[in-house]
């Protein structure tokens, strides 16, 4: 079957097997390997991407279900060679160690910050509870998201 969708601003269409998962479509067909597979069961969040602006676990969405959708992956965060504030936040606050959960974690943070520009620490812990990190113990991730939120607030203040 055929799917047509827009990934990181680029429209594309491909012939796929109906059973293909969105994460495998992104990685194997579109060649975007920044989105990782951690559990194939929606439980770890490593594969989180934005589908029409909302965070989804792309390991339990069929590529067919994403037909017509707009997808943002970690590769679509930076613009014009400039890191997204969320990427800067994770870098500055040591919000990652092995880096495997990081793309999904940043996409979950992007979803949160699109809805809540001044989250509390508890809001952040709640927003990323679907994303497991085994390295950081989360505290630096909370700081990273706060750092990004502050950057995004000051940017919108101009």
């Amino acid at each position: 079957m055929r799917v047509n969708l827009t990934i990181n601003g680029h429209p594309r269409g491909d012939e796929i097997e109906p059973r293909m998962l969105l994460v495998h479509y992104l990685r194997e067909v579109a060649g975007l390997t920044g989105t990782h597979v951690g559990c194939e069961s929606t439980l770890c969040g490593a594969c989180t991407v934005l589908l029409d602006g909302r965070a989804v676990k792309s390991c339990t969405v069929l590529a067919a279900q994403a037909d017509g959708a707009t997808i943002t992956t970690v590769e679509g965060l930076a613009h014009d060679g400039k890191l997204h504030p969320i990427q800067d936040g994770f870098w500055e606050e040591h919000g990652l160690q092995c880096g495997y959960c990081t793309p999904g974690m940043m996409m979950a943070a992007a979803d949160l910050l699109s809805r809540n520009t001044s989250p509390s620490d508890a809001d952040i812990r709640h927003a990323i509870e679907g994303n497991l990190c085994r390295c950081t113990g989360y505290q630096h991730i909370i700081k990273a998201v706060q750092n990004a939120a502050e950057k995004m607030r000051s940017a919108s203040r101009g």
């Binding site: 439980l43 992956t73 970690v74 160690q97 880096g99 495997y100 497991l132 950081t136 113990g137 505290q139």
Partner: protein, 777 residues
């Protein structure tokens, strides 16, 4: 004017991160090669069964399937997956099951096809006829008469028995005021790196060279093991650890799939990829802990601990992985903790059961030891009605006793346990916390304060302390390139720890150059000199020391050359701002680049000196380092739900000198999270028939962000005398201090109910039951 370090000791943003935050890093599953095939493994659904027959015809006939192999196809072609630790019984460990399966998940057959979907279709068509056998799951039943035997050739399920007797312990037991007897369980845990295992193998028939990308902590040791199993020379095997998504000890190993994927590529003549799925990760990647310990502790009425006598029953699982039977030894050797306990005796009985093998998991034997020592201190306090802090102070090794030879035969390098304890007590305001607890108790609230003072063993060496094949040394090569940039090749294999940053900081300061002038390379046996790897918190203390040896050799050579150019004695020259300068007057300098030019271009020959700027070194540690600290948790238990809520979590760790403060914080945070997970949440559960009950992240409670507290960190600094940086290691410290700390806090909360001990994990249901049973009584 002295040269001030610009990078060491600073909070430097990691140099690893740009590729990781932009999605451009290459983990194993991101490796793509022309013509690459996918392998999917058929695994045993039974804990223990005889294989009567395997029908692969339908699978082989499926269009697009390239190969289907079973154990019969490999018989006699591949060696045993090795265990290097000594044991009485080491069974043959096949790549695919040979006639019998011994745990759920054991590899039985493999299908290879153009993509994993198709390979899975083929696996679904394989028909295996099993005769299920009785399984042995409880390690305390493994040696009982009539227990099902896993490996018939041994006649029983004993792996090995270690006995460390000491008549002084029996004397202490006889003359003690009291003897405390108790049993503790360090439950089986799953390491769960977010990236599971994965392998890509590429055999080149033209060069007869094998390249294997694998998610490992030990590329060189793995190369040796892989070459041995395949019967290839090591010079024909190149192992690459690409980006590795966490290890925590479970990738300090060599697995069947690494041999299998390599064999498939060699026989099919095409690259083959195998990527572990999470269910496979739970069932077939090594587990950790799984020790039951019976303790007898003779004490005096003033709280002095006179000795510890222990019997360990250690569950090794169905086969032995690389270091499986070596792990429990550290639990015995380290169980005296921070205390001047004059005598220990222990017996360790290691047994086979129908489960996945255990092996190293963050801490590897020392969390179990710290748990024993710190539960002992709290149980002594409870027995005598003393404050747990006072009992610790009474038994601490005093700070003037270092280096301290323990009764177990270890030499603690340096320490000041009371200082770390005092700092943690001050941070938490202990008297105030106790007063608040007393007030809360008046209102029927279950508030508890838990203290744990730990010491652990890191950077293990010299090599004789480790099993043959896993040495204690580490290697480095430092190369100043012709343009003055520096390439560092290290034998360690970091996978999140951040040594690309730390080693660049150290090298930059040593040569007076910028951190961006340096590239740190690791994890490729085709490029890096033989090395050992990253485990046991050894990266900086051993790998960093090897780095500084090579740096020192090049500094000497640069000084000698510069000395002829500057007409100044070499020992008076310093490196700063990309120059070589007179240490007494930094304005008198020449560009470092001109000295590098001289070394390569040889404009000013020095008799007896080779051209080039390249040094390789191997550092053999003279002894082990012993990081320590005190963690304090304040918790409250909701009696209606059994849920544990953190009110405070304070950790004071002493890892010697701190080179990268930001990274040290990150290591401690992550360690605490995993230690809390053992105390409160995680447990690998097999049912009575040997079925793995916790095979998904729904059933196995890896903590989420809302299940963990805010950590308040402090440090004391007691340098180690055993390496030039004075560092001790910090990768596992958090895990070791936090588990007993949290259990002590929960038990302290339940003290008004007369509860002294509940085994981990202290999950809500278990606590709720204990609270309600106690209230009924």
């Amino acid at each position: 004017m002295a040269v001030v370090p610009k990078f060491v000791g600073e909070r430097i943003k990691r140099r690893e991160d740009p590729r990781l935050i932009t999605g451009t890093a290459t983990y194993v599953d991101d490796v793509r090669l022309p013509g690459m095939l996918s392998a999917i493994i058929l695994r045993s659904p039974h804990a223990h069964a005889k294989i009567n027959s395997i029908d692969v015809e339908a699978a082989r006939k499926l269009p697009g399937v390239v190969a289907v192999l079973t154990g019969a196809d490999l018989k006699g072609k591949l060696g045993s997956i090795p265990c290097v630790a000594p044991a009485e019984h080491i069974p043959f460990h096949p790549v695919l099951a040979q006639g019998k399966v011994r745990y759920v998940g054991e590899a039985v057959a493999v299908a290879v096809a153009a993509n994993p979907y198709l390979a899975q279709d083929a696996v679904d068509l394989i028909d295996v006829d099993y005769d299920p056998l009785d399984a042995v799951v409880d390690p305390e039943q493994a040696l009982a008469d009539g227990a099902p035997i896993l490996h018939e050739e041994f006649g029983n399920n004993l792996v090995t028995r270690a006995l460390v007797p000491n008549p002084a312990v029996d004397e202490a037991l006889a003359k003690a005021d009291r003897v405390i007897k108790f049993r503790v369980v360090n439950q089986r845990l799953a390491p769960i790196p977010m990236e599971g295992r994965g392998v890509v193998a590429q055999w080149n028939p033209g060069t007869e060279q094998l390249i294997v990308w694998t998610s490992t902590q030990i590329p060189h040791l793995l190369r040796s093991a892989l070459a041995g199993v395949l019967g290839l020379g090591e010079h024909r095997v190149r192992v690459i650890a690409p980006e590795v998504g966490g290890g925590f000890g479970c990738k300090l190993n060599f697995y069947r799939e690494e041999a299998l994927t390599a064999h498939l590529s060699m026989t099919l003549g095409r690259p083959v990829k195998w990527i572990e799925r999470r269910r496979e990760n739970f069932a077939t990647t090594t587990h950790g802990r799984d020790q039951i310990t019976y303790l007898e502790v003779p004490i005096k009425n003033d709280g002095t601990v006179l000795a510890i006598k222990a019997k360990f029953i250690c569950d090794m699982g169905a086969y032995l992985q690389l270091l499986t039977p070596a792990i429990p030894g550290f639990s015995g050797l380290m169980m005296t903790g921070c205390y001047k306990i004059p005598a220990i005796a222990f017996e360790q009985v290691m047994v086979f059961t129908n489960k996945m093998a255990t092996d190293a998991y963050r801490g590897a034997g020392r969390p179990e030891a710290a748990y024993i020592a710190e539960r002992t201190m709290d149980l002594v306090a409870a027995e005598l009605g003393l404050d747990p802090v006072a009992v610790r102070r009474r038994n601490f090794i005093p700070k003037d006793a270092f280096p301290f030879a323990t009764c177990a035969g270890l030499v603690y390098d340096s320490g000041d346990y009371e200082r770390a304890l005092d700092k943690a007590l001050a941070m938490v305001d202990y008297p105030k916390a106790r007063a608040e607890q007393a007030e809360a108790r008046k209102h029927g609230r279950y508030v508890g304060i838990g203290v744990a003072s730990y010491v652990e063993i890191c950077g293990i060496g010299p090599s004789a302390m480790l099993p043959p094949g896993v040495p204690g040394w580490e290697s480095s090569t430092v190369r100043i390139e012709p343009d003055g940039h520096v390439t560092v090749l290290t034998g360690i294999s970091p996978h999140g720890q951040g040594q690309e940053t730390t080693f660049a900081q150290m090298t930059a300061d040593a040569f007076g150059i910028d951190i961006d002038d340096i590239t740190v390379v690791h994890g490729d046996t085709g490029i890096v000199q033989y090395g050992v790897g990253t485990f046991g918190s050894r990266g900086l203390s051993v790998g960093g020391a090897a780095l500084m040896m090579s740096v020192g050799k090049l500094q000497d050579k640069l000084r000698k050359i510069a000395s002829t150019m500057m007409e100044a004695p070499p020992e008076q020259l310093a490196f700063t701002n990309r120059t070589v300068a007179l240490a007494s007057d930094l304005s008198k300098s020449i560009p470092l680049k001109s000295v590098v030019d001289a070394a390569y271009g040889w404009k000013i020959p020095i008799p007896g000196m080779e051209p080039g700027l390249d040094a390789t070194s191997f550092f053999e540690p003279p002894g082990c380092t012993f990081p320590f600290g005190t963690h304090i948790a304040v918790v409250e238990i909701d009696p209606d739900t059994g849920l544990v809520k953190f009110l405070r979590y304070v950790a004071v760790d002493d890892c010697g000198n701190i080179l990268s403060p930001l990274l040290v914080e990150g290591q401690v945070h992550g360690g605490i999270a995993q230690g809390i997970a053992q105390a409160l949440y995680e447990e690998v559960v097999y049912d009575e028939g040997g079925q793995l009950v916790t095979a998904t992240l729904m059933d196995y409670a890896v903590p989420r962000a809302n299940m963990l507290p805010h950590y308040e960190l402090g440090n004391t600094v007691t340098p180690s005398p055993l390496n030039p940086m004075g560092v001790k290691g910090v990768g596992e410290a958090g895990t070791i201090g936090s588990t007993p700390c949290v259990v002590n806090a929960v038990m302290d909360a339940l003290k008004p109910l007369g509860i002294r001990h509940i085994d981990m994990p202290l999950r809500p249901e278990k606590l709720w039951r204990a609270i309600h049973e106690a209230k009924k009584a």
